[in-house]
């Protein structure tokens, strides 16, 4: 196993940031830790990168214990913290060279690994990092985290605040990196990115809700989901909220995802109800659960 986490708990004063977390990541796996801000993702990252000590539990990265062998871990992992953490007053190339040097390597030696990512920002190599756009900063940060050829790569919310285009590109890069046999442990608050991981852990309020492949997690959704729409979305949300057979009703894009409390629920019942409430262009169709549906159901 590349990463083993066993019953880790961590508190800050009264606040329990992590509550009895366990998970395992296989070598070469792209593992996603999915959850909103404040779920405890960053705390788990810091524990695994030896920056924090857990209150309880044990963990190992690449076979090294996070407490005893912290020095070995620091030699073997790449880490990209949540905030952009490079030197803004150094140029692109100086940043990269600096991180290569402190890990005792050179840009040349490991250029193959980062070429794919670095070529996109190389034209700006003499620009100060502080003056790069969001997407470029992120590529530079990833290049710096990779420059020493780490065996495990920790990426804490690399795509937060980044636009969909750059996000898509970033995930494509991760997929290619994975082929180089690097274990990638990544966190994100964007549920749609979960689909791109081999395995995910849903986390909220310091607790893990579920760990599995994205497919299995979607398949585990316990109810039938219907996507509903009518000409008046706001009224639809309100009416579904007061409908006595509603288990959940959440907006999903142009539809509302609806589940019923009844196991033998028939869509026609809902259509009748909505018609009675003067809705037009009513559409009720069965649909598949997404990761987000599962997350909301589990964290309800």
């Amino acid at each position: 196993m590349s990463i083993i986490v066993k019953n880790i708990s961590k508190s800050y004063g009264q606040v329990k940031a992590l509550d009895d977390i366990s998970l395992e990541v296989r070598p070469g796996e792209l593992f996603g830790l999915i959850g909103p801000d404040g779920a405890g993702k960053t705390t788990l990252f810091r524990i695994l990168t030896t920056l924090l000590l857990p209150n309880e539990g044990t963990a190992s990265v690449n076979g090294f214990d996070i407490v005893k062998d912290y020095k070995s871990i620091r030699n073997n992992v790449g880490y990209m913290p949540g905030r952009f953490s490079l030197y803004q007053d150094l140029t692109v190339e100086e940043n990269l060279r600096f991180f290569a040097t402190i890990f005792g390597t050179t840009i040349k030696e490991n250029y193959d690994l980062i070429r794919d990512i670095y070529v996109q920002i190389e034209p700006f190599k003499n620009r100060r990092a502080g003056r790069l756009s969001g997407g470029m900063k992120q590529k530079l940060a990833l290049s710096c985290a990779l420059i020493h050829k780490p065996k495990v790569l920790f990426l804490d919310e690399p795509t937060t605040g980044v636009d969909p285009v750059s996000r898509k590109e970033f995930w494509e890069m991760l997929k290619r990196l994975q082929k180089q046999n690097i274990t990638i442990f990544v966190s994100t608050p964007y549920m749609d990115e979960a689909e791109l991981c081999d395995k995910i852990a849903l986390i909220t309020d310091g607790k893990i809700l579920q760990i599995n492949t994205p497919e299995a997690i979607k398949a585990s959704f316990p109810k039938k989901i219907y996507k509903v729409r009518s000409s008046e979305t706001f009224k639809l949300i309100q009416d579904l909220g007061t409908y006595n057979k509603t288990h959940s009703a959440y907006p999903f894009g142009e539809y509302i995802h609806f589940t019923s409390t009844q196991s033998d629920f028939q869509p026609s019942e809902l259509i009748d109800y909505l018609k009675a409430n003067k809705h037009n262009q009513i559409e009720v169709l069965e649909t598949n659960a997404t990761i987000e549906d599962t997350f909301m159901e589990l964290s309800k």
Binding site: G35, P36, D37, G38, A39, S133, G134, G135, T160, G161, V162, D163, P164, V165, S166, R167, K168, P189, Y190, M191, D192, T204, T233, F234, I237, Y250, P251, F252, G253, E254, E292, F295, M296, S299, K300
Partner: protein, 244 residues
């Protein structure tokens, strides 16, 4: 210009030295509309928004917000809009009540008004137990809900929301959008930026900015038909990627 429009923008341009951040954009937002203002990082969204809320002077072009010219009547614009951003919304070292009192105060609300509004806000959000807690101790989702309510304190006609739901959990994110719908239903105009493409689908109309220009502007439904795809995410990727 039609008086019915909440926001009316004509040939708005902003340059910083050689760099054109906003390049001759024109659009309007109708009263009571939920308008999604999308674009990649660095496309010029923030610059455009700063001009509309009256804190940045345009290089050329005109815009009216709440029927006031953004250049000559910036102060009137500020009085008639609410603004909430992801980065700064409330003071973390003040309690919810203190924040409300402070923001009510800077908009010149009377003491009695602030008191009733505070009570109403706390009731609406169900924050009785938290009202005297420091904002910093609240989960992000709650904070954003309170911040949104605070931006409504002075009863503005238009509310500007800059990535209000970034990092918020999915359930709270939806509750937040219900709040947005409710205000739009009351006739308020909502101008919102987001990186969640499913949220773009909730808007009446969206514009997509690419390199300083508005490349597309229509209802999500029409945009999807036009680009022959079935989600806003794909519309966005198609538009922003083709340019690069």
């Amino acid at each position: 210009m039609k008086a019915a429009n909440a926001i009316q923008v004509k040939n708005l341009t902003k340059t910083f030295g050689e760099f054109t951040a906003v390049n001759n954009i024109s659009f309007h937002v109708g009263k009571g509309e939920v308008f999604g203002f999308l674009g990649a990082n660095g496309a010029g969204k923030t610059t455009a928004m700063k001009m509309l809320i009256g804190i940045l002077k345009p290089t050329s072009g005109k815009a009216q917000v709440a029927n006031y010219d953004i250049t000559s009547h910036a102060n009137d614009v500020k009085k008639n809009i609410g603004y909430m951003s992801q980065r700064f919304s409330l003071y973390n070292d003040l309690t919810i009540k203190e924040n409300i009192t402070f923001f009510g105060g800077i908009y010149g609300l009377k003491k009695a008004t602030i008191k009733t509004k505070t009570q109403a806000l706390i009731n609406d959000l169900g924050l009785h137990d938290e009202a005297n807690k420091l904002v910093g101790s609240l989960p992000l989702g709650w904070k954003q809900k309170v911040a949104f309510s605070v931006s409504l304190l002075h009863d503005p006609q238009i509310i500007f929301l800059d990535e209000p739901t970034g990092g918020v959990d999915p359930i709270t994110r939806r509750q937040f959008w219900e709040m947005i719908y409710r205000e739009a239903h009351k006739g308020k105009t909502i101008f919102v930026t987001t990186h969640y493409m499913d949220e773009a689908e909730y808007c009446d109309r969206v514009s997509i900015m690419v390199e300083g220009k508005i490349e597309a502007l229509d209802s999500p439904k029409n945009l999807k038909t036009q680009y022959k795809v079935d989600s806003m995410n794909q519309v966005f990727l198609k538009l922003a990627r083709n340019i690069e």
